[in-house]
């Protein structure tokens, strides 16, 4: 049977503290995933322990929002944050490495922020 999963809501002002709590509890970051649907947009933060236990956080965002980077807590976060910036147009402050929009050389800027349904209209 499928693993039972929860997506704990978190806000932009809480995310750095939530990341610090995860670090203190022995978790490590395994992914950030941005999702945009016609009705909502959010970022999933997934953390994992060495015993493979995992935890997800869900942070609602909008295109053009500015979020605090968690790369000061989890260094690897800078890759995911640059990716989300280039594909979705969400900004992050204080990233460990800021590629300033050159992480992905896509022909269409913020290509993943346009849904097919919107494209057709």
């Amino acid at each position: 049977m499928a693993e039972v999963q929860t997506f704990q809501p978190v806000t932009a002002s809480e995310i750095v503290d939530a990341a610090k709590n995860m670090l203190n509890e022995g978790y490590r970051l395994i992914q950030l995933c941005c999702t945009k649907t016609p009705s909502e947009m959010d970022i999933i933060y997934t953390f994992e322990k060495t015993d493979l236990q995992s935890q997800n956080f869900k942070l609602p965002v909008n295109i053009g929002d500015t979020l605090p980077s968690i790369s000061s807590v989890f260094f690897a976060a800078f890759l995911y944050e640059n990716e989300i910036h280039d594909l979705y147009g969400v900004n992050f402050t204080d990233m460990a490495v800021d590629f300033k929009g050159t992480f992905y050389e896509t022909s269409v800027k913020q290509a993943f922020s346009i849904t097919v349904a919107e494209d057709k209209e």
Partner: protein, 359 residues
């Protein structure tokens, strides 16, 4: 302190034919820092979920990589099955495990060949790939394809392997095991190989955890994490422990992959002895609705899939977090302190697949 120089490495490099770019910061011949760049060939395959039926999308996801293609397909269907909360037949679970472990054997043999090539050890490279051909022949016989198999589907698998063929696979693997021993002995015992790899690119236990390293890169630093221990597919019914080496250097990462070849062969033998008779799929009704995060162990390490579905035939989002993407920060930790001449070899020890990363 010597004068600092920045040397561009890649995206085209004779020893690393993958579009990965590193700006190497050097003091004389020593690397003191590195800044990575990817994104030269980003394909945006994930975006196709908005235009492809969720069943058809399996064939797209398989094409994320030409080496781990089966496990990408398996991860995709497992994620969708997670949303459906669908239990697939036991035989299908064992078949998926057999193909996944065969993929690991062929991936590790391919990687050992590339390592040999990086040393300039051409004959060893050719022998590794010669042995690997036997695995590709098994794929061709059981699925019809050598690279892209298209045997996974939501609810099970498309093709069965009869018990006679399973016995033949074990016989071929006995030969592969023997021939691999001759090859891996060179990687383990040869003085010149050890000279290039021992003490180079050390990633400590804590660094490996902190930077989110995965797979043999993580286990080569002594961290006993292997997603197969979650028990997905048939792994819950198999007896194995993660392969771990403690030194955290290029040699340790090589040893992990060499030993995992034998572990995978053993797992396939266990599968063949335990595989039950029965159906290979269940009927899937309706469309998925919900979201699910799935984690699997690919040859290169942990892969993470996320899917969100709204009850129509198209998914709203499907994401693949590939092992190479996760291992880039680990590479940045390993590089400082090494010689410029060691960089190609060191980069190879994370087994980079930019095809996956540029999904």
């Amino acid at each position: 302190m010597g004068e600092r120089t920045i040397i561009p490495f890649g995206p085209q490099h004779p020893v690393l034919p993958e579009p990965l770019h590193l700006d190497l910061i050097l003091e004389d011949e020593k690397v003191v820092g590195a800044v990575p760049s990817i994104g030269f060939v980003h394909r945006g395959l994930e975006k196709l979920v908005e235009k492809r039926d969720f069943h058809e999308m399996m064939y797209v996801i398989e094409r994320v990589c030409g080496i781990c293609s089966f496990i990408h397909g398996q991860g995709y269907v497992q994620t969708i099955e997670g949303i459906f909360d669908l239990e697939i037949p036991d035989r299908a679970k064992f078949l998926r495990t057999i193909w996944a472990e065969l993929s690991r054997v062929h991936s590790h043999l391919l990687w050992l060949g590339l390592m040999a090539d990086a040393y300039g050890f051409e004959s060893l490279f050719m022998h590794c790939w010669r042995v690997r051909e036997k695995i590709l022949d098994i794929f061709e016989e059981t699925t019809g394809g050598r690279v892209i198999f298209s045997v996974c589907k939501v609810g099970g698998v498309w093709k069965d392997i009869d018990n006679e063929t399973l016995k033949k696979i074990v016989e071929v693997l006995n030969v592969v095991e023997q021939e691999s021993k001759d090859l891996t002995n060179v990687f383990i015992k040869d003085f010149t190989v050890q000279k290039r790899t021992r003490g180079v690119g050390v990633l400590t236990y804590q660094e490996a955890i902190d930077v989110g390293a995965v797979g043999p890169t993580l286990r080569g630093s002594g961290v006993a994490m292997d997603l197969r221990k979650l028990g997905y597919a048939a792994y819950g019914e198999l007896d194995f422990e993660p392969i771990v080496e403690k030194d955290g250097d290029c040699y340790a990462r090589t040893l992990v992959r060499a030993r995992e070849i034998y572990q995978s062969i053993d797992l396939i033998r266990q599968c063949v002895s335990k595989i039950p008779d029965g159906e290979i799929d269940v009927k899937v009704k309706g469309f998925p609705k919900g979201e699910y995060v799935s984690r699997l162990e690919q040859p290169r390490g942990q892969v993470v899939y996320y899917a969100r579905a709204n009850g129509t035939k198209y998914l709203e989002r499907f994401r693949v977090r590939t092992p190479t993407f996760a291992n880039i920060p680990a590479l940045l930790k390993m590089l400082p302190g090494c010689d410029l001449a060691d960089v190609p070899l060191l980069a190879l020890t994370i087994d980079p697949c930019i095809s996956c990363t540029e999904r």
